[in-house]
């Protein structure tokens, strides 16, 4: 069913540090039995040095939840509390040689239990501001709540825009129907209950049928941080220059990984580049282009798409 790494399997079959810890002085409980995932992290902290001397867990959950809990206790033992707070969910996933995208929330739960336990030790109240929804984009592990928040905050109308802002839908594209559904739902909420058109009569692209911006949506659009649209339009030459500047800024990073990038062509909102050296054909090519694209959008103040040159339409 899942492609679990050997490390995940090993930690699931032989969990480290499981069971209650009598002398615990910091306890973090997260999750719930409703969600099918619950984790209690117990820390024994030296009050003098704030070093975590021992860590135990009890977990109700799937294989990767138990493995993530086990990995977490191994990672943080011997750390100071401040060091432990630097542990991210990605650290937990990396320790296990990766988790399937559907299971990344298990590592998130581990990080949250850690925050909760440290807050408990310090006598603070820890509250979770993080909400997870159904996983939509499996390529980049983006869930429905994240997409909906970004769509609302930035008044997005098309799948393309959602991909620009969140990367969701930028990989295999099979989640585009799911993204369209979120867009339609947010749009009908914006329009208000009386104004929704029956789904069967919906034609045209979402952008064409977008409801006129009300005062409220205009306000959210204005407060949106990106893109910070410059007032005056750039000339073609200015645009190309800025594009080149962005590429110059990322070039050192790519060269460090023995790659490079060249601008090939700009056609309207499409910017075609060729990735060279180690970047070409790399598994992370889509992510690299996504990062460059984000910088382009910020620099140009408009939505553009950065694509590999192989996507460039052949001249008729």
């Amino acid at each position: 069913m899942w492609e679990y790494s050997d490390k995940v399997r090993e930690h699931f079959f032989n969990p480290r540090n499981s069971g209650p810890l009598e002398e615990a002085n910091g306890i973090g409980d997260v999750g719930s039995i409703q969600c099918g995932d619950a984790l209690r992290l117990m820390l024994k902290v030296d009050p003098e040095t704030e070093v975590i001397q021992d860590a135990h867990f009890q977990t109700f959950g799937c294989g990767s939840a138990i493995a993530s809990s086990s990995a977490l206790t191994e990672i943080i033992k011997g750390m100071t509390l401040d060091e432990a707070l630097q542990v991210s969910n990605q650290n937990i996933a990396d320790y296990l040689d990766g988790l399937p995208p559907e299971k990344m929330h298990c590592s998130v739960m581990g990080r949250e239990a850690l925050q909760a336990a440290i807050a408990n030790y310090r006598g603070e109240v820890w509250s979770d501001d993080h909400e997870e929804g159904a996983l939509i984009c499996k390529c980049f592990a983006i869930d429905a709540v994240m997409i909906e928040d970004v769509v609302k905050a930035n008044n997005l109308n098309t799948v393309e825009e959602v991909t620009f802002y969140t990367k969701a839908g930028g990989g295999c594209t099979s989640c585009h129907e799911g993204i369209e559904e979120i867009l339609a739902r947010v749009k009908s909420e914006r329009a208000g209950p009386g104004e929704t058109s029956p789904p069967r009569q919906q034609t045209g692209t979402p952008a064409q049928t977008a409801a006129p911006a009300t005062a409220a949506t205009a306000a959210t659009a204005a407060t949106a941080a990106t893109p910070a649209a410059p007032k005056a339009r750039l000339t073609s030459v200015q645009r190309i220059k800025r594009i080149e500047e962005v590429l110059e800024s990322v070039r050192p990073m790519l060269q460090r990984d023995h790659g490079d990038v060249d601008l090939v062509e700009v056609q309207g909102k499409m910017i075609y580049v060729s990735l060279k050296g180690a970047c070409s054909g790399c598994m992370m090519e889509a992510a690299t282009l996504g990062g460059i694209q984000q910088k382009m959008i910020e620099a140009l103040g408009e939505l553009v798409q950065v694509l590999p040159v192989s996507y460039m339409p052949v001249e008729a």
Partner: protein
Amino acid sequence: MEPIYLDNNATTRVDPVTVEAMLPFFTEHFGNPSSIHAFGSQVGKSLKLARQQIQALLGAEHDSEIIFTSCGTESDSTAILSALKAQPERNTVITTMVEHPAILTLCEWLEKEGYIVHKLKVDKKGRIDMDEYKSLLHDRVAIVSAMWANNETGTLFPVEEMAGLAAARGIMFHTDAVQAVGKIPMNLKDSKIDMLSLSGHKLHAPKGIGVLYLRRGCRFRPLLRGGHQERGRRAGTENAPAIVALGKAAELAMEHLEFENTEVRRLRDKLEKGILARVTHAFVTGDPANRLPNTCNIAFEYVEGEAILLLLNKAGIAASSGSACTSGSLEPSHVMRAMGIPYTAAHGTIRFSLSRYTTEAEVDRVIEAVPPIIAQLRKLSPYWTEKGPLAHPEQAFAPAYA
């Protein structure tokens, strides 16, 4: 140690006799049954035989009522979409909360398209309320679709009675019978069932072949249009090897029908009693008095299904769980939620589904293997102590968020 396969509601092993029957249709009998020449006509005859073998298993009146499709899901979609297309003045579908996604996901999409879908509720044992059902039958209903047997619990719906009530109001009736065919006797000609879906790989035929039974006279609109195959009701060149295999599998299923309901049932009951006698805080879900002979679904409280499956798998035992731990929103199986199984148990439901190949020795081994696995996971669970479950698990474990 030989692995033990107790996941026959997911898919089944193809009987060697069936494999033997289908193999020549890849090589010497490769012809297209639509062709005039001898290569084709030989295949055409074999397809006719297969149709008759399936007709016999279903107790259908005519062999032309059997339409070959690619799978159970295609049969389900064909049936419901046909009823809506053929009766544009009717806009309502009645189904149940516990159907397979092949029906439920389609119905959700139909709702988005503007159709009205009523999903019948079920009680704690997974039974529908016939009074609620009767109250919903009106002349805007295009079709009722109710599964014959539930894939997770094996619970049987009274589909023959339901079909009779629908017919009395002039409403078409479809049943998704992929779990039931070959496990319980059927006699469609004496029922009012208009359409029935079956899937080959659930009854020891290969994957990629299904059937839609369509009662003669039932108004129909095809899903796939094209060639004249299946009398124009399902275009596309016939999957001859799989059809021949399905025919053979149907014949074998009929021969083993009594065995399923005696020997397989006895082993299932032994397994269930054996596990429940050794594991506390576990119970059978669904309606034990009225279910498939091969299915047993046990809820193990305070442990999670996937973890159980991984440990079972390590012990060489294949079963399945209704719990789908796939994303941030971790809902236990919709079937368990519909029956109101508490969350403390719904995440730990395990389905054991036997077949006529299951042996007594295998059942004995599973009875031995399960209790330590559950004990091991409960030891890890924050809801469990050495003395058993926490008295008020929801309060004792007070998470920062829920």
